[in-house]
């Protein structure tokens, strides 16, 4: 058992589950989407990305790419949320909430790809 694998698997899965938790629920209803969950998803995703830094294997590179996509989407979601709560006169209405959640939905897709990659990596790994 490699600690590196455990830690990485933990963060990738946690990123996906947090993101899922935030995403699930009515798209436009702010009450169903917890901002703390979004925050946690961003942080865990960032950590998962950094963990793949410097990995020069093929699958590591794809991992890094999907993580970066998830980061990008989540940061976009955060920015949309910030815009709605801080700048926009309308506040956090259904429309802006839908934008935030759908962006996080995109990130979720990337997270799922990450998890799939993780599973593939685990399955194809054979100790000789």
């Amino acid at each position: 058992m490699s600690l590196e694998k455990v830690v990485f698997g933990f963060f990738v899965l946690l990123a996906a589950t947090l993101n899922f938790g935030f995403f699930i629920g009515d798209l436009a209803d702010p009450r169903l989407h917890n901002e703390y969950e979004l925050f946690a998803a961003v942080v865990v995703n960032l950590i998962a990305t950094v963990l793949k830094f410097g990995d020069r294997t093929q699958i590591g590179a794809v991992h890094l790419a999907t993580s970066l996509v998830a980061d990008l989407q989540l940061i976009a979601a955060t920015l949309a949320w910030t815009w709605a709560t801080q700048v926009s006169a309308d506040g956090l209405n259904g429309e802006s909430m839908a934008a935030v959640v759908s962006l996080s939905g995109g990130a979720l897709l990337a997270n799922i790809v990450s998890v799939v990659l993780l599973v593939i990596e685990t399955v194809s790994f054979q100790r000789r």
Partner: protein
């Protein structure tokens, strides 16, 4: 190929135009390790720490209850918390927003300030350590080198070994405008590349030339690599370089240095490298000096490269007995050469075996009784040829003490001892590094020079004496540049029709563009026409289109001649004596007046 910057090596006549102008790869990945990966890998831990600290601090701020200006409970939003942490963590700091903090908030912020400073310090520190890291800097240097070499868009020579020979040759080739790439095992020598004054940037890499990957990084597979020079002082390395070059790029000319005939033989098994053995070459030079001192003088002068001073004409004794100290590889080569010239030789060496050859005395040359046995008083020449400079110097001093009339030859192994040998006023000094450098220079500078040097000894000593005289008269005691001109449509557009008339003489061509009654201070050394070379052509020789001429002269004279060759108005004045307007309008005007 007229006009192109191509060169030629004996036996490899004009093989340069390659069908495949592509990289030849030895290994799949020739790029050095991308440094960005190294940075990312090392920065993983600090970045995670930083993210965590930020996350915890921001989260804490949003959770801790605060109070607004009206005294109502108000929690900080994520945005405000992140904004606050951003300026706090970067040690900028503005104040407490959006409302003044409560005690609990201040407590938390105090803790986070210290935490974030630690995080920053750790991240920045790691980055700085990484930049100082030797492995990282090496990777960076290798990457930069590989990129510089890959970006070269001119023909370049790959030199392995930047010792005495490499440095001498590098300077001479650079003066000719050739591009170089250098590999040496010694990082200090590679660093010296930046200090040495080169006209072009010379990329250098500290690495082992025996490793094909190193050669690959240095551009062995590069389409513009025009030759490989193996000049290290290790025969084994030179052999490895020759082998690699011959296997990876069989069409590439290779020049290798060696002092061992066995290695020379092994090198010859791979393709047809030009192998230069300084001891062998020095023997040949000495034989030429014995037979024709002026020819040798001319050869030494021309081989020394741009700016070289006229060497002294030494006259080694042609009859008599020579005493030779040090009967190693050099001693044996020289003994054979001297005996071939009909001289008798007495060799002294401590490691020689007694009785094998009758002329060998076994013993230490610095001991008086050994010297006495060699009978220096009745000898004409003395050679101090050991591989130790101090021994050589003391041997020369001892020999001169016994017989001041001796012609003294000595071998100088290390560059540092040069002033000592200069002070000793040695009649003929062998510096192996210089022999190799001059030899390679003669072969690489222009193909015509090599041709000239090979055919010149046959013309005799008198001819060489006259040539030296003529060069000295026109160019002074310092040999200026040598260059080649091809008389064809691309290099000499202003002369093309004149050449076809069959009236063009060399003397007319070399008239001064400002005053045609004067002659340019340029000495024609050789004309190559249809594969036949005319050495030292006279001024009334008729030129033809397609002739290649080797000329010697000062740079300003070269520029004057270039005007004659390329500018129509100048060439008309030089040829016929009438001035022609050079601008379009003036030409129209003068034509209408006529």
């Amino acid at each position: 190929m007229p006009g192109s910057k191509r060169w030629w090596l004996p036996g490899r006549d004009e093989q340069r135009p390659r069908e495949a102008r592509r990289w030849t790869r030895i290994a799949v990945a020739v790029q050095g390790p991308p440094t960005v990966f190294l940075i990312l890998r090392r920065m993983r831990a600090p970045l995670i720490v930083l993210i965590t600290i930020f996350a915890v601090s921001v989260l804490g701020l949003t959770l801790i209850p605060g109070r607004d200006d009206a005294g109502q409970p108000a929690r900080m939003g994520f945005f405000d918390a992140f904004y606050f942490m951003s300026y706090t963590a970067t040690t900028i700091g503005y104040g407490e927003i959006p409302h003044a903090f409560t005690g609990a908030q201040r407590l938390w912020v105090t803790a986070t300030i210290y935490l974030t400073v630690i995080g920053w310090a750790y991240a920045v520190g790691s980055l700085l350590t990484l930049l100082q890291d030797r492995a990282f800097r090496q990777a960076l240097a290798l990457q930069r080198f590989t990129r510089t070499v890959a970006r070269l868009r001119e023909p370049f020579l790959l030199i392995t070994g930047y010792g005495q020979t490499g440095r001498l040759l590098g300077r001479e080739l650079d003066a000719l405008g050739r591009r170089l790439v250098v590999i040496d095992t010694d990082a200090e020598r590679v660093d010296a590349l930046d200090i040495d004054a080169y006209r072009c940037d010379v990329p250098g890499l500290a690495g082992d030339a025996r490793n094909p990957r190193t050669l690959e990084h240095a551009g062995l597979g590069h389409p513009y690599c025009e030759g490989v020079l193996a000049l290290t002082d290790d025969d084994e390395v030179n052999l490895a370089v020759t082998m690699t070059a011959a296997l990876v790029r069989p069409e590439l000319p290779v020049i290798a240095r060696t002092v061992s005939p066995a290695v020379e033989h092994r090198m010859a098994a791979f393709g047809s490298p030009t192998v230069i053995n300084p001891f062998d070459r020095y023997g040949d030079h000495l034989r030429l000096a014995l037979r024709a001192p002026a020819s040798y003088q001319l050869m030494a002068w021309l081989e020394s490269g741009p700016g070289a001073e006229l060497p002294e004409r030494s006259q080694p004794p042609r009859a008599g007995r020579w005493v030779l100290c040090g009967y190693g590889r050099f001693g044996r080569e020289l003994t054979e050469d001297l005996q071939a010239e009909g001289l008798t030789v007495t060799a002294v060496d401590i490691r020689a075996e007694a009785g094998t050859e009758p002329w060998v005395i076994v013993g230490d040359g610095s001991e008086p009784h050994v010297m006495a046995a060699a009978d220096l008083a009745h000898a004409v020449g003395f050679v101090a040829g050991t591989d130790n400079d101090t021994t050589n110097l003391s041997l020369v001093a001892a020999a001169r003490h016994i017989n001041p009339e001796l012609f003294v030859v000595s071998r100088q192994n290390r560059p540092e001892t040069a002033p000592l040998f200069a002070a000793m006023r040695i009649d003929s000094l062998l510096v192996p590094a210089e022999v190799v450098a001059h030899e390679i220079y003669a072969q690489l500078s222009t193909p015509l020079l090599w041709r000239f040097l090979r055919e010149m000894p046959a013309l005799g000593d008198e001819w060489a004496r006259a040539m030296v005289e003529r060069l000295q008269q026109h160019c002074g005691r310092r040999l200026p540049g040598l260059w080649r001109t091809t008389l064809d449509a691309s290099e000499t557009p202003a002369l093309h029709r004149w050449l076809c008339d069959g009236q063009a003489t060399l003397g007319d061509l070399l008239r001064h563009p400002d005053d045609r009654e004067r002659r340019l201070g340029i000495v024609p050394l050789l004309i190559l026409r249809d594969g036949r070379a005319t050495l030292g052509p006279a001024d009334d020789d008729v030129l033809r289109a397609g002739d290649q001429i080797l000329l010697a002269g000062q740079p300003w004279e070269q520029r004057a001649l270039l005007n004659t060759l390329t500018i129509d108005a100048v060439s008309r004045y030089v040829r016929y004596g009438h001035r022609v307007p050079s601008s379009w309008i003036w030409r129209r005007l003068t034509r209408s007046n006529r």
